[in-house]
């Protein structure tokens, strides 16, 4: 299962591409969620102060959420992997 140096380099390139893709989808979901949650008044074509503030808080809160859940995910995933290793050997 161990990779040679050139395989590792190939893998890293693919993962970098994936990361760009994931960041794009993250950004897209942020736009979806925050626009959907904050913008509801179509009597004007410019964002109101209230809408702009809501979007700013939505982005901040979403990023804290993302960070917190990613920490939990890493912990839980590590625990699960360790448990599976124990079962296997």
């Amino acid at each position: 299962n161990s990779l040679t140096v050139s395989e590792q380099r190939e893998l890293e390139q693919r993962l970098q591409k994936r990361q760009v893709k994931e960041f794009m989808s993250l950004f897209g979901n942020l736009v979806d969620n925050c626009f959907t949650a904050c913008v509801d008044d179509f009597t004007s074509k410019a964002l109101s102060g209230r809408e702009g503030g809501c979007i700013q808080r939505c982005v901040a809160k979403s990023m804290t959420t993302q960070t917190r859940l990613s920490e939990r995910f890493a912990e839980l995933n590590q625990a699960m992997t360790a448990e599976m290793q124990n079962k296997r050997f």
Binding site: L26, V31, F35, K45, L47, I55, Q56, M63, Q66, E71
Partner: protein, 89 residues
Amino acid sequence: MFGFGARAPTSAEKVAAVENELKVVAEMHTRMVKICSLKCVDKTYREGELSKGEAVCLDRCAAKFFEAHAKISDHLQQQSAQQGGGFGM
């Protein structure tokens, strides 16, 4: 972010870079159509044409979507810079 390092980009990389830019724009378009249809168009379909009110709503929604998109992109860059980047991934 999308640099090719020191060497000149290969043909495949140049084509992929242009393709990627167009893909980002296409995804933004798809997203806007989905959200603004949801916000503005009555789903009972008693009429097969857009009402005047729906049409105006779509125009304003599109403008607000672009504004929100830029705003969110800015917020994200600021917060990523503050947190030392990464959005928790």
